[in-house]
């Protein structure tokens, strides 16, 4: 398994490409974080936005910049670095492909951002028709996606050259995982690209008058759920393959890690209806079928939970820990590279519990579109995933810039994560609670004409603002650490940790690299879950909708 020829340092030129992605990602964090702070303040009822800025404009900024821009840029940068580290430096052609992808994504981001700032696109990041944004907003988002495909092509090319040079061998684990996530992304984004290119863009340009709303939403959610797994899998890459090395332990099982990634590829796509459970026009039996498929995608996460605990326990016991939980004390709590992602892992427990509830067919009536859902994905994306991304940054950014994470920065990083956890407990906890009482998501402050029920929500909204303010403090700290690591930290060599497999774990079966098989099953599952309801939608379609600009 260990071919010693593989470099332990990411090629400097590949590092530049990855860092370019990170600069955009952290600028997005600054802008989107500020937007988030403003939203929680407005919704507390104690603050109003100045200069005629709209709440929903700010909300659009927050969603687009954090949900689409920060994530996509960070993930692509991280995956480029991980592939370069584990499969060798990119060729010039591959690197050039990566740069083309990066610039397309950046240009697209700027276009979409300008339209949002001009208040031409206050349609949120889900841009549900028939609310109609400026055509350039859709063009911008398309460019972000096309750019990410080209970035992905660079990764796939690098993987192909590794396979060619190492026939009959399983690819390095991190490379394998990055490729699974890239394939997942490509298959998923076909849906959103289809609705934008064939429905929304011609409609916003006035080439067609009407749009089929349900088809557009269905294509969006075909993309929307694998999107969240596209965010999650890079965090799982770090949890499975990097954190074990950081703590000085071993990967629990290479094969199980690969298997769970393959299961994510298969089952995270044909499940979009669980975002559309409350919609007319879809037969409930088809909804339930996708609910079952959604439950299947919980299984690899159950496997992940076991693998991670096992990695930690095996390490602790090898250090002499005894008793049921003695191993917990042996973990390196003072090391931000471990402690920060660990807090993210813990957050995934309530996050996952909420997710199971959301997906449970008619139980969704209790929480659908309430602020519970916002609380839910601020645990998944905005805690589990983002804290893991921060944890990755603490070694990856200095590794790429030829600097080191100093003791002081390490300490600050841990403080940052603790602040984040506290802020999120307030914000997400209050969101979950208010959501159960019925408070809607994506809504500005309102007393709803003096309604008693709405009055009950306000204390929770104040708690959200307290949490939001604490989180914003966390963002400032994070940006300070990032800037330090990128430009000011002392020169040196920071390790890019890559885990090794535990001795007991055996050889990795080659079947995991059989892409024809896995992509074939993925496509079959998608066809199974979507073909008939999709035909129904088109056959029973009502007259389409004209565009509305209610912003």
């Amino acid at each position: 398994m260990s071919t010693k020829s593989i470099n332990t340092i990411v090629d400097r030129r590949d590092g530049k490409l990855a860092m370019a992605h990170f600069y955009v990602a952290f600028i997005a964090l600054a802008i989107g974080g500020l937007a988030g702070l403003l939203q929680t303040l407005v919704r507390s009822g104690k603050y109003e936005l100045p200069w005629g800025i709209g709440y929903y404009q700010v909300l659009t900024v927050h969603g687009v910049v954090l949900g689409l821009v920060l994530t996509t840029f960070f993930i692509m940068g991280f995956q480029l670095a991980a592939v370069s580290r584990t499969s060798g430096a990119l060729t010039d052609k591959q690197r050039m492909t990566g740069w083309i992808g990066f610039w397309l994504m950046t240009i697209g981001t700027v276009m979409a951002a300008v339209m949002i700032l001009l208040n031409e696109a206050s349609v949120l990041y889900t841009f549900y028709a028939p609310l109609q944004a400026h055509a350039l907003y859709y063009v911008g988002l398309t460019l972000v996606i096309v750019g990410s495909w080209i970035d992905g092509a660079a990764l796939i090319m690098a993987y192909a050259s590794w396979r060619k040079a190492n026939p009959g061998k399983p690819s390095p684990l991190l490379t394998f995982m990055a490729i699974v996530n890239t394939l997942l992304w490509i298959v998923a984004t076909i849906g959103v690209a289809a609705t934008v290119l064939f429905q929304l863009l011609p409609w916003s340009l006035g080439l067609v008058e009407r749009v089929d709303v349900l088809v557009s939403r269905t294509l969006f959610w075909y993309f929307g759920h694998p999107l969240v797994y596209f965010w999650l899998l890079p965090a799982y890459m770090a949890w499975y393959a990097i954190v074990p090395k950081i703590i000085g332990g071993k990967i629990f099982s290479d094969s199980l890690a690969r298997m769970s990634f393959i299961l994510f590829l298969l089952f995270s796509i044909p499940v979009g209806f669980h975002h559309q459970l409350m919609e007319p026009g879809i037969d409930p039996a088809w909804k339930f079928l996708q609910v079952i498929l959604t439950f299947l995608v919980i299984i690899p996460s159950l496997m992940t939970a076991f693998s991670l605990f096992a990695t930690f326990e095996m390490f602790g016991r090898s250090k002499g820990a005894t008793g049921l939980f003695g191993w917990v004390k042996k973990l390196p709590w003072g090391d931000a590279r471990f402690a920060v992602p660990f807090i993210g892992m813990l957050a995934f427990i309530p996050a996952g519990a909420g997710g199971v509830i959301n997906a449970s067919h008619q139980l969704n009536q209790v929480v659908h579109n309430t602020i519970w859902v916002t609380g839910h994905f601020h645990l998944t994306l905005a805690t589990s995933v983002i804290l893991t991304f921060f944890g990755i940054s603490y070694w990856l950014v200095p590794h790429l810039t030829g600097r080191v994470l100093t003791k002081a920065m390490n300490k600050l990083a841990i403080i940052q994560a603790v602040i984040w956890a506290i802020g999120m407990t307030f914000m997400s906890g209050a969101m979950h609670a208010a959501g159960l009482l019925g408070a809607p998501r994506r809504s500005s402050f309102s007393t709803y004409g003096g309604s008693e029920q709405a009055a009950e929500w306000i204390p929770y909204q104040v708690a959200q603002a307290v949490g939001g303010s604490i989180l914003f403090l966390g963002i400032i700290l994070m940006l300070y650490i990032f800037i330090n690591l990128a430009f000011f930290a002392p020169k040196g060599e920071q390790e890019f940790p890559v885990g090794e497999v535990a001795d007991a774990a055996e050889k990795t079966p080659m079947v995991f690299e059989n892409w024809k098989l896995w992509i074939g099953i993925t496509v079959l599952l998608i066809l199974f879950a979507y073909t008939i309801p999709f035909i129904d939608m088109i056959q029973n379609a009502p007259i389409g909708s004209k565009g509305y600009k209610f912003f």
């Binding site: 159950l302 939970a305 076991f306 605990f309 096992a310 930690f312 326990e313 095996m314 602790g316 016991r317 090898s318 002499g320 005894t322 008793g323 049921l324 939980f325 003695g326 191993w327 917990v328 427990i349 309530p350 996952g352 519990a353 909420g354 199971v356 509830i357 449970s360 008619q362 139980l363 009536q365 209790v366 929480v367 159960l436 007991a504």
Partner: protein, 49 residues
């Protein structure tokens, strides 16, 4: 490194280093948490009209 501490172990059985009983306990705690929250919302659903 892995030698049991002198005079410390009174148990006849030396603790198995590769034991994963803590892992099993942890995941079951997680499992119970999933069940409790799910059942909680399920009853909320039943209680409401």
């Amino acid at each position: 490194m892995a030698q049991p501490g002198i005079g410390k172990k009174t148990n006849t059985k030396v603790e198995d280093q590769s034991s994963l009983k803590g892992t099993l306990a942890s995941v079951f705690l997680l499992g119970f948490f999933l069940i409790i929250t799910w059942v909680g919302v399920y009853f909320l659903f039943l209680d409401r009209f």
